[in-house]
Amino acid sequence: MSAALDKVTAPDTEEGVAEAVRAALASREPLAVEGRGTKRAMLRPVQAARTLSTRALFGITLYRPTELVISARAGTPVAEIEAALAEKNQKLIAEPPDLRALFGVEEGATLGGVVGANLSGPRRITGGAMRDHVLGIRAVSGEGEVFRSGGRVLKNVTGLDLCKLLTGAHGTLGVLTEVTLKVQPAGEATGTLALRVAGLEEGIAALSAALGSPFGVSGAALLPEGHAPLGLDGPVALVRIEDFAESVTYRLGQLRAALSRFGEVSVLEGAPSRAAWRAVRDAVPLGAQPEEAVWRISVAPSRAPAVSAALREAFPARLLLDWGGGLIWVAGPATADSHAAVMKAAASAGGTFTLFRAPEALSAALPVLPEEPAALASIGQRVKAVLDPAGILNPGRMRAGA
């Protein structure tokens, strides 16, 4: 990656991005696409001599609180968007994590980065993922052509939804230049139930009961080791409500009655509740050490205890479960053996995995995402050929040789 740092282009207009892509195309020089490059260690190292950054392409271009939409250029820091929303008492629905600590970087993420990586936090379980709220995009294809998909209205089924295709494509199908998101009111109050549970089985059962209740739970996590800075001993299940104050009080009361059979319950209100969810969002309780690898596994929640047990048996795995158990964060030794155990556990539970962070030696040598069935893989290659025929955008980011 250090080679790419030498040659960073950071255009401040969309046309500048298009020109940079056309220049790369003309010279057949692949580009590493990034926002602020906070996730350079993510997935696989990109094989590119030049870097195209959208960091200089920033600013909120449209914000209509009563229409629940915000548009911003791709290089806008997520923190700036969140601040603008907070002024109108609104929020990003998918609650994207702030992974500075996990990745040991100073700078915060850009909008293009969190959309390019389809990063969602705790609210994903009932509020939907980043990709569910991308209403429109502007982007530059690998041929240096600007294109749009979607728009700035909440309901739109006009034409093929390329917003979904580019969200989570990690810059391999186009360089995002502007994104429009659906947003929501922030909710007047928030509160959390913390349940001391006997083990992972019981914890997942408690979260399932909470998510299967009529009370509109907006976060459901399980911290096997607890989280000492917040005085939480593990294993502890966390259940969140965000709503008008009257509703938060009523719903926490109802849930408390329904869940007390799973373990001793305490209530976190206001600031402590927010601090707990910020920690879960940013995977802090995972306590991943710099030399370790970090994976994310996505499975049906009821499979989480078995997956967790298999991982713990295979290597000294530390875990953090979110999305009712549907998301398992794993930290452990950065070895091919632990990676094989992760792949096996995810596959046997019918789920997926991502090697989220690992030393380059490991991530360059192993599949960081599951293999796709052959029929889909060949469709994927044809789609890549449509959007980036010369293969100059983030080569090797998601899969070797693609």
Binding site: R148, V153, G351, R382
Partner: protein
Amino acid sequence: MMLADGTAQGHFGPMIRLPPPKPEILARRDAILADLRRLLPEDAVIGEAIRLRPYETDGLSAYRQMPLAVTLPRTTEEVAAVLRYCHAHGIRVVPRGAGTSLSGGALPLEDAVVIGLMRMNRILEVNYADRYAVVEAGVTNIGITKAVEGDGFFYAPDPSSQLACMIGGNVMMNSGGAHCLKYGVTANNLLGLTFVTIEGEVVRIGGQHLDAAGYDWLGLITGSEGQLGMVTEVTVRILRSPEGARAMLAAFSSVEVAGQAVDAIIGAGVIPVALEFMDKPCIHACEAFAHAGYPLDAEAMLIIEVEGSVAEQDMLLNRIKKICARFDPISLKLAESAEQSLAIWKGRKGAFGAVGRISPDYLCMDGTIPTGELPHVLKRISEMSAHYGLGVANVFHAGDGNLHPLIMFDANDAESFRKAEAFGADILKLCVEVGGCLTGEHGVGVEKRDLMVAQFTSSELALQRAVKSAFDPGWLLNPAKVFPLEGNEALAA
């Protein structure tokens, strides 16, 4: 019926251009039917004109075209077998669910085999702990909720056609409903699909987990209108039903004021589960039909629904009531009971039928606009109504800007239909002009195909066509829909 110039004939004249049929396919019709009968059980292949007739049109019944044949497979393997056969022989296919598409998405082609999934109607699995259901594509939308409501769960997207329309069709149209302001549209409520490519390969996309690793095929396929492949099984998220729900009605003296009230409600951080808007012609039509007690002197009316415990409903309705009171409402009615809620909804739910009673025929349009543009757009629509001499009633999902103008015309009068089509096209172009889009939930189909140039540049359309080609290089899957025929070499004779 196909006219010599390649236009399909409706019951009162030619109107939509379809790609020229492949003569060699038409010539081999009997042999194709015989082959299909070898691939599928005897009763799963239809070739007789009288039994093909029910498939000649869909919810956009002004357009009709008899297909070459209809197949009604019962399993994913049978669907794959038909697709593999059609692919090998260059035969076009038109997938079909219940045929309720309002954009002509399921309109057959003369040289196409229709693959109808209505016999794939089994619920395969329900899992409450993980909150999903696996169902075949031909299960009706309401069928999913019926299967789980006894246990207190429901499937959230609720198109008005939910008694008939099927989940496979919902996936392909990314259908919405009255409650999608809170619960999202179909795309937001899916976990996985069994997908069959045009080559007849069966692939599973997604599953019971939330995060796809790799490209978001599930997201791309949802709403793709049968252009990319066929869906035979769907894994949907199911949700626990709320404790209760109650509606209120608020009527205002002008469209502008009603729009301001909507902005104020959302601006105050209240997201009702439903927020429906009706204009005066629509109020009158619905009242005459349903006797729901709607205020006839109002220019605009909102139906607002909230959910939760009775105390929460009271809290939310009172907040909304206070907000509405700032805008001098003509009437404000809070339902006191579930029965009163039903009465408030009765007129709205029957809106299409009600307009059907005052006009022999109507076209239901489906653009979306930024909600702030509502007063301007409704004013322009009423000017257009005067210009074309055709009545129009507007219902509108006010929270999300999805507008449904119902244009009234007489289908026995070709001139009246031509005007209605032109009026509709003008409305949709207006939606695009003010920052919205051609379709919020009904899809492009054949109906809005030629208007796509109003929303997309030619290079954007070329890109979308190329993505379709990546799935369907021979353009055999539901061709003639979504993309303008102009400039499409894949469909030229």
